[in-house]
């Protein structure tokens, strides 16, 4: 071995000089993917969990996983076969929770790190500014979790969004309530309680619109501040109106507060729905999971049957985090990464235009999904048309999937039991 070193170096140098270095260097070539997440600031927890999820994804592609390889061709290990077995290298950047930092870091990843594509950036506003830079430089930007509707309305050619958006959530709830109505449960009087920033307002209004179309009546609508330290007035108001169905759109600390206050005032609706976020936070599930037995929720993550793609990925992820499983946010990030990896592999090149073409041609089946989507296929605006949410229910401190039927691992049990 050592005898050849010198000669190989010489040949390498000559090849490099004559521009023939490619096949020689391909052996240990890497392809860089830039990732912009909130690694500090308000959403740092979510960002750091997503970071770990992507590291699991990259590890599966670079080093392989025998069980996953049965479903996902790229999980055989040894990098991307279509790209001369290039290994994936993740380059992380912190958006610090500000649109300015997100944009600055996007520029750095593109021009200094020379990444082939970008993934990010969690908060919708930051995704907006960061992807604008990618668009100007002609670098593909894959988004896994920002739901603001306008992101795909900008006429961008390099922006691809894998996540479902608010309308998909609203449809999932509406379909679920229709089933319950058919089964004879009361759904006449619906109350919507939402926190009053972007998330609560936008998702709330989309749900109301969709429900109206489907003939459901949202009679009570209560907006509150997620920072409030007392929600007794809101719960008393609910107790008085006594709706059949109550929907929460809340962050973590307010979700905890509502749960405790409802127990204190001893009031519960027949069906309680919570739109993810706070009610899915591991902190909430750990401390109060047993106080909200029967709570209906939505998630992009459904653990599925043992041995399925989500289940296998979840096991790897639990090993990585030391206990916490994949959740709605981390699984969407991981899914976005897998979509990009697949496109890079098919592009067979790190040339931006080829990656863009490959992303446009993406057509992944449901069997390969780690998130609860029906697959991945982008429309002209870059939105995944097969994105969907599953409906889950809290059972004994854990969420299980109850709808749609083909993904369900348990039957739904109603009415809401609570504590």
């Amino acid at each position: 071995m050592s005898k050849t070193t010198r000669r190989t170096t010489m040949v390498g140098a000559v090849a490099l000089a004559t521009g023939l270095a490619r096949p020689a260097m391909a052996q240990d070539a890497t392809v860089k993917i830039g990732i912009i997440y909130p690694l500090s600031g308000n959403s740092a927890t979510a960002g750091n969990y997503s970071k770990m999820a992507l590291e699991v994804g990259a590890d599966v592609i670079n080093n392989g996983d025998a069980d996953l390889a049965k479903f996902i061709p790229l999980a055989k290990g040894g990098g991307l076969p279509g790209l001369k077995n290039a290994k994936i290298q993740l380059v992380f950047a912190d958006n610090q929770g500000t649109p300015a930092a997100g944009q600055n870091q996007a520029l750095r990843l593109i021009t200094e790190e020379k990444v082939a594509a970008l993934i990010g950036a969690y908060q919708s506003g930051i995704t907006l500014t960061a992807s604008a830079i990618a668009e100007r430089h002609g670098i593909p930007f894959v988004n896994g979790e920002s739901v603001a509707a306008n992101l795909t309305e900008r006429g961008f050619k390099w922006f691809f969004r894998v996540t479902p958006v608010a309308i998909d959530f609203a449809r999932a709830y509406s379909a679920f309530l229709k089933e319950q109505k058919a089964a004879g449960r009361k759904t006449d009087n619906i109350a919507l309680v939402h926190e009053n920033t972007e998330y609560g307002n936008s998702v709330g209004s989309v749900i109301i619109d969709q429900f109206k179309k489907d003939g459901f009546n949202v009679g009570t609508k209560i907006a509150y501040s997620a920072n409030s330290s007392d929600v007794q007035p809101q719960v008393l108001q609910l107790k008085e109106k006594n709706p059949d169905v109550l929907i929460f759109i809340s962050y973590t600390s307010d979700a905890i507060l509502y749960t405790k206050t409802m127990k204190e005032l001893n009031w519960k609706p027949g069906i309680l729905i919570a739109d993810n976020a706070g009610f899915n936070d591991p902190a909430f599930v750990k401390s109060l999971g047993n106080e909200v037995e029967g709570l209906i929720n939505r998630s992009a993550f459904s653990a599925g049957k043992p041995g399925s793609v989500p289940d296998l990925f979840n096991k790897l992820y639990v090993k990585k985090t030391g206990g916490d499983g994949l959740d709605d946010v981390s699984v969407r990030g991981l899914q976005a990464f897998m979509v990009l990896a697949d496109a890079l592999n098919r592009a067979g090149s790190t040339e931006p235009a080829k990656i863009q073409a490959a992303l446009k041609a993406t057509d992944l089946p449901a069997e390969q999904m780690v998130a609860g989507y029906d697959g991945v296929k982008f429309d002209d605006k870059g939105q995944n048309t097969k994105a969907a949410s599953v409906v889950t229910q809290m059972r004994g401190g854990k969420y299980v999937t109850v709808a749609p039927k083909d993904r369900a691992t348990a039957e739904v049990i109603l009415p809401y039991k609570g504590w």
Binding site: F92, A100, L128, E198
Partner: protein, 317 residues
Amino acid sequence: MNRFLIPGALLALALVYPLLVQSLPVYERLGALVLLGAIGASAWNIVGGYAGQVSVGHAVFFGFGAYSSVVVYTHLGWPPIAGAPLGMALSVLLAAVIGVPTLRLSGHYFSMATIAVGELVRVLSSTSEFLGGAQGLGGPAIPRTVFDLSFLSAMPFYYIFLVVLSLLLLLTWIIERGRMGFYLRAIKDSERAARSLGVSAGRYKLYAYMLSGAFAALAGSLYLCMFGFVDPDSGFGILISVKMVVMAALGGAGQLFGPLVGALILVPLEELSNSLLGGQGAGLTFVVYGAIIVIIARFLPSGLLSLLNRRKVNRVD
């Protein structure tokens, strides 16, 4: 002769800087960010530094500028920069409305009042549908004309910001040397003494506040043109006010070039520490950033420029 040698060399360096780093877009952008930071901090300096009225709510004006720019785009289809004069005019009005009652307050009470107004406006803006609510508003996604100021490189922004900063510093310099400058410094030293000498303290503080607000609004408009997005936190967030104060204080509040020196240190520090350490996700960026601020504040409480002045004093001795 010697007096102009160093400033002249620095100005020349500022003029050619983007050409030197043309192949390094991140550093080109960093130059523009430093100038933008310096514009905001220099605007603050007029009322906070010279007049000694420490406003911790200048984000109100910054946000007015940014939102004016994005609103004329969203609702009228104009290029965002066309909103700059509107933002400045509104800020002058707003400064009068806020200033008349609050500038009567002294010391910390004025600072507290400005924080309160800032937070109030931030919360209000997040509930206004016209302003895009908590979700914020974006500028033109794809440039329609050159007036949309959407460039691949940061170089045009750099020169625009350089011109604006130069004008602002020139104006500040004129004020500093004129009657108003003396009045403001007298007010800063002792408002009661200034009043007893016949200085109309209230009126001059208000002038300074209005002028300062107008330029902070211009900084906001320019920010929007460059980044293309504003939401309540990035427009009216208290961190924006704090950064203006810290930048000016670090370089030397109440001195012409103080804010620029502060921006020259803080902005690269912030960007580079995030680039180098941010990706690890350990929150190291702010630890390092904060530590350096603490060190400077401990050893040079009147700002970095005081180093220079100290040397001058020594020489005279």
